[in-house]
Amino acid sequence: MKVSVLVRPKAGILDPQGEAVEGSLRKLGFEVSGARVGRLIDLEVEGSPDEARTKVDEMCHKLLANPLIESYEIELHDA
């Protein structure tokens, strides 16, 4: 089963990368605000959707996200 993990800087955490991206977009003439830069991790995991979610949740806790500064979201994709 294909799974995507979206890792984001937690709300309220300073994100200098997001600010730099936002600044560049504004220089290009785009009116944007609230730019935040996170990370996308695609995985293939064996098992049922429930099993996959449980496993990936454990992966996030142990390695993929640092709970001090990051939140994560797990997306399961149909095979």
Partner: protein, 233 residues
């Protein structure tokens, strides 16, 4: 011969991507210690009184700096060593690894400026009653170089208050080069046997290369190793 006259033995771990391991070995040996190189795949530590995790870019800093190195066999041995009260010093990437491993509080994030910084910085020693600062005076100003892109230490309000209360913030920048919270340059664990710092004491041990102030931190650590060796088990 008393046990304390033997040179302090210190393991220096090399991860794939470490780059300051040899400077750490050189600095420790020049200060009279016996540095013992250890490879990241080694599952056991040699018989040493302390461990140094050197600077560099272990595992390419992939995912988050230090996040992958913490799972190496040598780090599992270091975690056991630290749990038994062993002295562990993490420098730069070593500090990042210790934070990711949960052996030190907080996390190192990208510099607020987004720039890599490489220069001498003044830091203030907040406490001199630790295994890593006993040769310093409380409030002493040390000049030690930094060179990092991800040295912005962060912790949430609750954790920071706890650390301030416990006196775990050991070094503070007098000129903050990376935006770290409360100017934190180095922290120590609650038990007092694990310390991490972004500045590089191993690059500041010889007046010929600028400041010798880093030697005070390394020599404090070596004193602690020798003192412990002198105490009969």
């Amino acid at each position: 011969m008393t046990p304390s006259s033997a040179p302090a033995r210190v393991a220096v771990i090399t991860f794939p991507g470490s780059q300051d391991d040899r400077d750490a070995v050189l600095a420790l040996n020049n200060l009279g210690a016996q540095a013992v190189p250890v490879w990241h795949a080694d599952e056991e530590l040699p018989d040493v009184g302390a461990v140094v995790l050197p600077g560099g870019f272990s595992y390419g800093d992939y995912l988050r700096a230090g996040a992958l190195a913490r799972f190496s066999p040598a780090m599992e041995a270091v975690a056991r060593f630290a749990a038994d009260g062993g002295i562990v010093l993490g420098i730069c990437n070593g500090f990042q690894i210790l934070c990711e491993a949960g052996l030190l509080p907080g996390i190192l994030r990208g510099n607020v400026s987004l720039d890599f910084v490489c220069r001498d910085v003044p830091v203030r020693v907040e406490r001199a009653d630790t295994a890593f600062t006993s040769r310093c005076a409380s409030g002493q100003r040390l000049v030690i170089p930094v060179k990092h892109g991800e040295g912005c230490w962060y912790a949430d309000d609750e954790l920071v208050s706890e650390l301030e209360e416990n006196g775990q913030i050991l070094l503070r920048y007098e000129e903050n080069p990376n935006g770290s919270l409360r100017d934190v340059a180095g922290v120590i664990n609650r038990e007092g046997n694990v310390m991490g710092l972004m500045p590089h004491p191993e690059h500041a041990v010889d007046p010929l290369l600028g400041s010798p102030d880093g030697a005070l931190i390394l020599e404090s650590m070596l004193d602690a190793v020798r003192e412990r060796a002198a105490v009969p088990a």
